[in-house]
């Protein structure tokens, strides 16, 4: 139940609990205590580390400006519309 030598004890956490919080972990929307528990878990669990890395990759892929590009000529057409306003 308790682990880590010489430091403050960290309560173990299950894979299921880690999966539930992985997105909040990336958004830093969890308590410091939960963060420490998850980080201790990641050190020992390859499955959950793969979930974390993959989810982080997704966040990076989606956030990359090249994924949502405006169509060619978008600006021109938009400003033409604006110019037509009375």
């Amino acid at each position: 139940m308790v682990k880590k030598e010489g430091e403050m004890a960290t309560i173990e956490i299950s894979c299921v609990e880690v999966w539930r919080e992985v997105s909040n972990y990336l958004d830093e929307e969890i308590s410091l205590e939960m963060r420490e528990r998850m980080e201790a878990h990641f050190k020992a669990c390859a499955h959950c580390t793969a979930i974390l890395d993959g989810t982080r990759n997704v966040v990076e892929l989606v956030g990359d400006g090249r994924v949502f590009q405006v169509p060619d000529g978008f600006s021109k057409r938009l400003y033409k519309k604006l110019q037509k306003l009375p």
Binding site: V58, L61, Q69
Partner: protein, 233 residues
């Protein structure tokens, strides 16, 4: 001549975006407040300057609801026109960018409701499916993504297809957070749902995308080969 003009325009735009990026939040707000004042005093050109850095944001918001590029462009145009007509009533209670996203999102939802009332009802009646936990289906290892990968059109397309395959409620939360970097509170206001609900949708959206994209990073969805785990263990 035309290409020089468009290149010069592009350079100006990039410089404008870079300048905005280097501004602090309060500088940006002050700068935008000045531009808004100018627009309200009749200087229309200032509106172009105000909106230009957010074109991609507006379009991405529109396409996150509409999916279809032609519809998304119409929605984006309509949203910008509405922003222009209501600009002088903007009180700066939220960031200008959040206000623009809110207008775009409302416009997109309104159109969707008009065009496909049936679909809209089923989208809105989705609360029950968000109860309970959502687990990843695949544990494939996934190496860090080299940035050059997104230079490839087919990779960008695969990511877009995966995003489009999400249900609208998940896609909207994902775009607002991971494309626009809005806070949970801002997203909650725009979508009209609680913050825990935003987090739940975001969580599901990211894990679903991970399930759909992770096996592909080794090339399977690029080459059209059948699904298999990249590293089954």
């Amino acid at each position: 001549m035309g290409s020089h003009d468009s290149l010069a325009g592009e350079v100006r735009e990039n410089l404008g975006v870079q300048a905005k990026l280097s501004m602090t939040e309060s500088q940006l707000r002050a700068n935008e407040a000045e531009l808004i004042k100018s627009v309200c005093e009749g200087e229309r050109e200032a509106f172009y300057e105000l909106v230009r850095p957010y074109e991609r944001m507006i379009y991405a918001t529109a396409i996150s609801v509409a999916k279809n590029p032609a519809d998304a462009e119409e929605i984006a145009q309509e949203a910008v026109l509405k922003a222009f007509s209501h600009l002088c009533s903007f009180r700066g209670e939220s960031k200008f960018s959040t206000w623009l996203v809110q207008i775009t999102y409302n416009e997109a939802k309104m159109r969707l409701k008009k065009a496909r009332p049936h679909l809209y009802e089923s989208i809105d009646d989705r609360q029950q499916s968000e109860d309970g936990d959502f687990w990843p289906r695949d544990f494939a290892d996934w190496r860090p993504i080299p940035s050059e990968l997104l230079e490839q059109n087919e990779i960008r397309q695969a990511v877009q297809n995966a995003i489009n395959s999400l249900s609208p409620s998940y896609r909207e939360a994902l775009v607002l957070r991971d494309v626009h970097y809005l806070s949970m509170k801002e997203i909650s206001t725009i979508l009209g749902i609680s913050e825990p609900n935003v987090k739940s949708r975001l969580h599901r959206a990211r894990l679903l995308l991970r399930d759909r994209l992770a096996p592909g990073i080794d090339g399977f969805w690029i080459k059209g080969q059948p699904y298999r785990k990249a590293r089954p263990w």
